[in-house]
């Protein structure tokens, strides 16, 4: 559905996007994950045909530069910070609806879908951030396009609005829409994406499924193992002997870091040595740790 092939975008001597290639299949949701300045928004602008670039981007076989208009008609786009003409929300919807050739019936339908009915007669400048986002989402969906391109779509939303918004996008994805979205929130990525494309300094540095992203990045889970006080030293020695970097946290708790696949091994070793395990806590790599890894020099 979306094919990005060796795309490079230069601003003078700086490569904002550096030879990026990936595909998004029909009905798939792909997240562009990366820090600010990683090149996500620039790449989205290239996909929308708003910037000239080297390489090729096609949407459903249509080249976004050569068949810009036809390609753009396949996309519903939600920007990071929606900006509208100073008109009523209804007038804005009618304007973009007319550009996309839809009738009033569809406008009413979409207004109800995104929950904009009560605010439809307000000037766009009087809408809250959340309502503006709903309006931009309504515009994106107005012609029922097969592809949704979302540039950090929840950055201006509160927790409740964000949850609703993500739910709606997931429903649309389940209905068969192809979704490409940029984000730097791992929870959103895990909730929506089938695949994650990690970008750093304009390059794609990794592609992964969201649930194994931490592992792919080489991040370890933390295990907190509680044993009876008399056994703490023995347990530490056994685990160290087995190659685990176990640390005694207090009189009865051990801390060790293992890969996701190794989680059961320390337990097996302790049980084999007949050391009773009283409690177990597992801490998956936090979003902060993953983002630090993505942003830092780790990859």
């Amino acid at each position: 559905m979306i094919t990005v092939r060796e795309v490079t975008k230069r601003f003078k001597d700086i490569k904002a996007v550096d030879c990026v290639s990936f595909n998004v299949k029909k009905g798939e949701a792909v997240a562009l994950l990366g820090a600010n300045g990683a090149g996500k928004s620039t790449l989205i602008k290239c996909i929308l045909g708003l910037l000239s670039f080297e390489g090729e981007i096609t949407l459903n076989g249509l080249n976004v530069e050569k068949n810009s208009k036809e390609a753009k008609s396949l996309i519903g786009y939600v920007p990071q910070e929606p900006v509208f003409y100073d008109m009523r929300a209804l007038d804005i919807l009618e304007f973009f609806g007319a550009i996309r050739g839809v009738d009033m019936g569809r406008i009413e339908e979409i207004v109800n879908l995104v929950g904009l009915r009560e605010h439809i007669l307000k000037q766009s400048s009087a809408l809250s951030g959340g309502m503006k986002q709903r309006l931009s989402f309504a515009i994106a969906l107005i012609s029922n396009p097969p592809i949704l391109v979302l540039d950090e779509p929840t950055s201006n939303l509160d927790a409740h609005a964000r949850a609703e918004f993500l739910k709606l996008i997931r429903e649309l994805k389940l209905q068969g829409k192809t979704v490409l979205f940029s984000s730097h929130r791992l929870d959103e990525v895990e909730f929506l994406a089938d695949r994650v494309v990690v970008m750093k300094s304009g390059k794609v540095v990794m592609e992964s499924k969201p649930n194994v992203l931490a592992e792919t990045l080489g991040l370890k889970v933390r295990m907190y193992i509680k044993v009876p006080v008399p056994w703490i030293e023995t347990a530490t020695d056994i685990l160290k002997r087995e190659g685990f970097d176990a640390v005694t946290l207090n009189e009865n708790t051990l801390l060790l870091e293992v890969t996701s696949r190794e989680k059961t091994i320390p337990l097996k070793k302790l049980l084999f040595a007949e050391i009773p395990v009283e409690d177990l806590g597992i801490e998956e790599p936090s979003m902060e740790r993953i983002m630090q890894e993505v942003q830092g020099d780790g990859i």
Partner: protein
């Protein structure tokens, strides 16, 4: 280019302009000043329109020269740069519209808005003169209106080039105000200075005058108003002898059309070829 999209964007521009506070202030000021000039232009003896439309049009020329270039240049200059700066242009272009449609729609929309404003000023004065019984020079009055509309179109076109090439609205406003001063003040001084220093002939001075759209308007408007060409000085006499009265007028009229067409084509090409969003 799809006409439907051009029309939609054009309608949006007109609607926005007619709601724009500054545009309303400009239209009201222009109309009031046009009416005031009308009353001042009549002496007590001529109050019933002895010179009618002709005198009114002559008074309006100075008003047009002051107001129309400034408003047209600034309106054109912020048309695209302002939208580029606040992100609405980027958002509009993310929809299935071509850059050529956006440019054409915006230009036509703003042109219609400025023309409505000018026609309102000229129209109100025309109605008052008509009611008072002045009918002499109606055609001259209409021609002055037409020249004013052309002047607006040419300066709006120049403003659009500034807008396409500027990323910031503030910068484009600054450039447009400088251009306004240049066309109205520095250009005259420049022609005079160059003529003296380089000892230019009358023909060269006439050609130099054609390089300034406000100058072209001024000459064409005065030529339209006065049966005596000598009011334009030696250059006027030269033009009269070289091209005749009608020939000179057609030349000036063509120059004004070129001053509209050439800048708008440059602006159009720059906007459609340079993707600055």
């Amino acid at each position: 280019m799809e006409f439907k999209n051009v029309l939609l964007i054009m309608q949006k521009e007109v609607r926005e302009a007619l709601k724009n506070r500054w545009f309303i202030i400009y239209t009201v000021c222009f109309s009031i000043l046009a009416l005031l000039l009308l009353f001042f232009s009549y002496s007590r003896e001529e109050i019933l329109g002895v010179s009618g439309f002709g005198r009114t049009a002559a008074s309006l020329i100075n008003l047009v020269l002051l107001f129309v270039p400034l408003v047209s240049l600034v309106t054109g200059a912020i048309s695209i740069s302002n939208e580029r700066e606040n992100g609405t242009l980027f958002y509009l272009l993310s929809h299935p519209v071509e850059r050529s449609e956006v440019f054409t729609g915006k230009f036509l929309g703003l042109l219609v808005s400025i023309w409505v404003s000018i026609c309102l000023g000229f129209g109100l004065s025309g109605i008052v003169v008509g009611i008072k019984g002045g009918s002499l020079g109606a055609s001259k009055y209409l021609l002055t209106t037409l020249l004013s509309l052309l002047l607006a179109a040419s300066l709006l076109s120049i403003g659009f080039i500034v807008s396409v090439l500027s990323k910031k609205a503030a910068k484009s406003i600054g450039i447009s105000v400088f251009l306004w001063l240049f066309f109205l003040v520095f250009s005259d001084l420049g022609i005079m200075g160059t003529t003296i220093v380089m000892d230019l002939g009358i023909k060269s001075v006439f050609v130099l005058a054609l390089l300034n759209p406000t100058e072209v308007f001024k000459i064409a408007a005065v030529l339209n108003m006065s049966p005596r060409f000598e009011v334009l000085g030696p250059v006027g006499v030269y033009a009269l002898r070289s091209f005749g009265r009608d020939g000179t007028f057609y030349l000036l009229f063509s120059a004004m059309i070129l001053w509209t067409v050439i800048p708008i084509v440059i602006g159009f090409l720059a906007f459609t070829l340079l993707k600055k969003e």
